[in-house]
Amino acid sequence: MAEVRRKSGKPLQVNPHKLSQPMGATLAFLGVDRCMPLMHGAQGCASFTKVMFTRHFCEPIALQTTAVNDVIAVLDGGDYSISESVKNIGDKIAPDLIGVHTTGLTETKGDDLRGVASKIDVPLVYVNTPDFKGGLESGWTLTTQALIDQLTAPCDRVEAQKIVLVPNVSLQPIEVEKLRDFIEAFGFNVVAVPDLSSSLDNHLGEKQASLSSGGVTVAELERLADAAFVVSVGASVKPVGAVLQKKNPAIQHRHFDHVSGLVGTDALVAWLLEASGRDALPAVVERWRKRLQDAMLDSHFSIGQTRFLLVAEPDHLAAMAASLREVGGKVTLAIATVDSPILGDIQADQVVVGDLEDAENMSDAYDMIIGNFHTEALAHRVGKKAIMRGFPNYEEIGNALKHDVLYEGGAYFLFEIANAAERMREAQVHHEREQIKLQGIA
């Protein structure tokens, strides 16, 4: 088991990779079709968030702000700025849902969100997400809970084939789609909540959309409670299961910490066989399992001699560490954005909640880095190689279509890491050869 340090002990973050709770909330609302996320704070909170996701996904991002100014910050309890925002949004466009989420500013002044929301008669979901608490994962989870709590109608029967899938925030759009298709191959109908797979999946839409264009619909959200199962993937979204069960106690909750690598995917398959009553895998799933097995053998030599630093959200760390560990990768250090119950289960020598300054100070511990785009500059400084994963990635395009999970994505992931590790060592060998040549000449 990993040695875990849950607090940084520093008075600041240097080169932070942590992202805020309202940012996670925005992203969750973007997984609802025809939604306008409305961030309740100063205009900068929404602007920074919008710029970040626009650059990460290379897509226009729907997001509005209540634009709290100095006067409103002192005099308004949220009534004016929220209801005025809803009116102004409605003047231009008719969203199916407005997703109000708060920030540190409006939580510090103590706005009564529930009270304000009760006076507004357009479809609206609200969630308290101060950015001085939690992080990206908790913002996503709180919003998912709010969507279900405030929209889903109670129900007293279940459809045996219906599954509600709750992905964690680090699953990229294509991974949500692959996961849904995977489960549906066993005969189920899946509704993902939230669902980024059709909204932020790098598709060229019919026209420039001013709302989220794709995702779970409000009608689907209202009818979630007739599902036979709710399946959560990632420790951060585990609490969502209970929220849906409140709408219908007959719903069964099945939780997976991740669906990465051979063992992780096997666990999902074993349960799907049991839940579906089938005794054989779909042919395509069986084929991909064999390909992953082969990929594991092909990649073990390279990955097995590499020491990794992982920098990510807690659930993402758990998933990537599991994949690498299966082929002998040594995850010597994992740096999490925030504390999480999953930290103790991450297959790494050392797990810390920290920043990239911590990573820099411990650079003797690893050869290769997997993390967001900030780790590229870190890699240059400490003379290592970095592979981009996680939010945000401004350096590369195609982030929404990176597929690392299940048998199929697991194979791609291992190939990419093994190849990069080989190239890194090749560069080192080349460098050493040049040094020897130079010495020979001298």
Partner: protein, 450 residues
């Protein structure tokens, strides 16, 4: 005395043309219909290029999580590049309840001990502004303790937009840094470049030409800037504002306090670069310098023209629609005209009155000044038969629907289009856009679609 600037005063700048006939400010943003960054964002843009200073954001992660290491403002500073280093106090629940002053002080200590900056800028954000952390006191105390300037920058997002933040940043530098040190030597041709952020290395496209003429850049605010230099800025003979209307307050005050005159220049395109360099020489008022400047301009323009020859045929008869903000409405238009491209329309949605007048002057009577480009530009492309749209990413759809070439003019661009050589880069990019089949092809109907 509090270092908090008087917001009203900053909003009604007497040196701005438009404030002569406008009553009060209309600063309040519209809830639910506002885009653009806040004061903190503007202050970061203005000050982050100082690579030898640490930039500590006293706030939660929304204020910096996605916003550090995002701007390409390169530096020649040989120490650690603090422009690309993110520092944040990451305010938590505890700090909201009990106050964050101790944490802030400890954060400054950590930075000074580990990164040896020449100064620390401390950016106040919404939450500590509401809870009432005394940032001035912390900064004052830490400045004395560490012997380096710790500069409070009061930019909670609720005070206003980017533009205001940039002014507040100017105010902070004026109050805490400028005039706190004497330069080792003075020359008759010392200038400050104000508002030049060296985005994508733009400053480096023309700085060497100034130096060749014997014009010394005493300090910059703040591209490739040094704290030790900005502290001596009061000894310059001239302030040159580079494409940054928002810093007029700063230069006006420097004129009042230190008697430094100021001019405003753009270094986009051949015409403006030449005009800019000449304007500096003329403002410095030395006959010999002016003569040498004219010679240098003639040489550079001839060199450029030769290199542009292969592009002339490609751009002949081409028409462009430009949809960008502020002074870019005319500065990029001017660069396009230098390339022989006709600019048939430009957006003045976010431009000042002066920028609008300038756009009209550059583009001529027949060009369209778009006030609502989002709804106007598609129609204008049809009417004018434009071949090229230069705009931010959101307008890409317009280009592919109209099947014309598109070039992104966002500031996040990785290349510099500034100065004489930047025009060559722009020419190459525009050529690549015009010749790229993707805009024609990507939105085609599939064979089975009717």
């Amino acid at each position: 005395m509090s270092s908090k600037p008087k917001i009203k005063e900053l909003l009604v700048e007497s040196a701005c043309e438009h404030n002569k006939d406008k009553k009060g400010s209309c600063n309040a943003p519209t809830p639910g219909a506002t885009t653009g960054g806040c004061a903190l964002d503007g202050a970061q843009i203005a000050l982050f290029p100082f690579a030898d200073a640490a930039h500590l954001v006293h706030g939660p992660m929304s204020c910096i999580g996605g916003a550090w290491e995002t701007r390409l403002t390169p530096t020649s500073w040989s120490g650690r590049d603090l422009t690309q280093t993110g520092f944040a106090t990451d305010i938590n629940n505890n700090d909201v309840v009990f106050g964050g002053e101790k944490k802030l002080a400890a954060a400054i200590d950590h930075i000074v001990a580990n990164y040896a900056p020449e100064a620390v800028f401390v950016y106040s954000t919404c939450v500590p502004a509401l809870t009432g952390d005394d940032i001035d006191a912390v900064c004052k105390h830490r400045s004395e303790k560490h012997g380096i300037p710790c500069v409070p920058v009061h930019v909670p997002g609720f005070v206003g937009a980017k533009n205001l933040g940039s002014r507040i940043a100017g105010e902070a530098v004026l109050q805490h840094l400028i005039g706190t040190k004497e330069p080792e030597e003075s020359t008759p041709f010392d200038i400050n470049l104000i508002g030049e952020h060296n985005n994508t290395g733009e400053l480096w496209r023309y700085r060497h030409l100034l130096e060749e003429l014997g014009i010394r850049v005493l300090s910059t605010f703040s591209g490739d800037g040094r704290i030790s230099e900005i502290r001596t800025a009061h000894r310059a003979k001239l302030n040159v504002i580079v494409c940054a209307k928002s810093l007029i307050s700063m230069t006006r005050k420097m004129q009042e306090q230190y008697g430094i005159p100021w001019i405003s220049c753009s270094f986009y395109g051949k015409t403006d670069t030449s005009a800019g360099i000449l304007a500096i020489a003329e403002a410095l008022g030395d006959a010999d310098l002016i003569e040498r400047t004219r010679a240098l301009i003639a040489r550079e323009e001839a060199r450029l023209e030769e290199k542009l020859m292969p592009y002339r045929a490609i751009f002949a008869g081409k028409k462009a629609v430009l949809n960008t903000g502020g002074n870019k409405a005319w500065s990029i238009a001017s660069a396009l005209q230098d390339l022989g491209i006709e600019v048939v329309a430009t957006s003045v949605r976010k431009s000042t009155e002066a920028d609008k007048a300038k756009a009209r002057e550059y583009l001529g009577e027949n060009a369209i000044l778009m006030t609502e480009p989002a709804t106007q530009q598609a129609k204008i492309i049809d009417e004018t038969g434009a071949h090229l749209l230069l705009a931010g990413g959101r307008s890409l759809y317009t280009a592919i629907k109209k099947r014309i070439a598109f070039t992104d003019v966002n500031q996040e661009k990785k290349k510099s289009y500034g100065g004489y050589d930047g025009l060559l880069v722009l020419a190459e990019d525009l050529k690549n856009s015009l010749q790229n089949p993707v805009f024609e092809l990507v939105d085609r109907k599939a064979p089975w679609q009717k």
